[in-house]
């Protein structure tokens, strides 16, 4: 071990022996001052909470879009489509029945 390292070790060992002082006493009114400043601190939401909130919003928006789309397409969905069925049948007939 180098002399410099030994000097540092000796110094630190001596510093560790320094008296720690009396048990820390809380200054009078400290807790009250902290609590008085408490409302000023903005509560930072966690990433998990932000993600949860956004996911719920996206889910709501997606459901609304689904309802609107279904509303606009109601006529198409509800109507009988014999023409489409006939066209499909004839197309399949061409492919599978030579």
């Amino acid at each position: 071990m180098s002399a410099e390292q030994q000097n540092w070790d000796k110094l630190v060992k001596l510093a560790r022996q320094a008296p720690k002082g009396a048990e820390p006493e809380m200054p009078l009114g400290f807790a009250t001052r902290v609590v008085a400043n408490w409302p000023k601190t903005a509560v930072a939401p966690s990433l998990e909470a932000i993600w949860e909130r956004l996911s719920l919003r996206f889910l709501g928006v997606a459901f609304a879009i689904l309802l609107v789309t279904a509303g606009f397409s109601y006529n198409v969905i509800a109507a009988d489509q014999p023409d489409v069925v006939q066209m499909t049948d004839s197309a399949l007939g061409v492919v599978f029945e030579p």
């Binding site: 110094l11 510093a15 022996q17 820390p24 809380m26 400290f30 609590v35 400043n37 408490w38 509560v43």
Partner: protein, 197 residues
């Protein structure tokens, strides 16, 4: 005075519901723990009360992030250490310590450390502590934190990992580099003394 019988879980529930009495109780209970960390890592020109208050406000602001995976005191210690680290980063480090910066007792201690083979007298412990503080002021916030925890508080690498969130190898590398810098500062101090005398 810390209330040893505080029901932490109940108190935290009340604090989360923004009960001010419970918040005051929590501050009183945690004060000895927080102030001990603050005193160990206090930057120059910052009052310990201001830094302690900042730590408590951070604890309240981030209370929802505490999930109970570790004891609450461990979580508080980590918040306190990271706040102290931020405060140390904010304050400029001392460029160097010169022989002229030492008071009479600190100079005597350094003389005794450098020139004698024996252990210096324990009566000089306080001066040695102040001298080490001046030397630590020359380090970066992270280096200072590692040396304080490892060499002065004699914490294990695992304990420092828990407090800082740094990896074991990062802590060891930082300690190695910081000790090298401190040795260099000691050599320069000794050189400064020789030049002066």
């Amino acid at each position: 005075m810390a209330d040893e019988t505080l029901d932490m879980a109940a108190c935290l529930t009340r604090v989360r519901a923004r009960d001010e009495d419970a918040a005051r109780q929590l501050v009183a209970h945690l004060y000895p723990l927080v102030i001990k960390i603050v005193r160990a890592h206090l930057p120059r020109r910052v009052t310990e009360e201001d830094l302690a208050q900042e730590i408590f406000l951070k604890i309240f602001a981030n209370l929802d992030q505490y999930r109970g995976a570790v004891p609450f005191e461990h979580w508080v210690s980590r918040v306190a250490v990271s706040t102290c680290l931020d405060a140390l980063r904010f304050h400029k480090r001392r460029p160097e310590v010169r022989w002229a910066d030492l008071n009479e007792t600190e100079a005597e201690v350094l003389d005794a450390v450098i020139q004698t083979e024996n252990e210096p007298h324990p009566a000089h412990a306080m001066a040695a502590n102040e001298l080490v503080g001046k030397l630590l002021d020359c380090l970066s916030a992270e280096d200072r934190m590692v040396i304080q925890l490892l060499d002065l508080e004699e914490k294990t690498v695992a304990e420092i990992q828990q407090l800082t969130g740094w990896g074991a190898s990062l802590i060891k590398v930082r300690a190695f580099r910081a000790r090298a810098k401190l040795r260099q500062h000691l050599v320069e101090l000794e050189r400064g003394k020789k030049t002066k005398s």
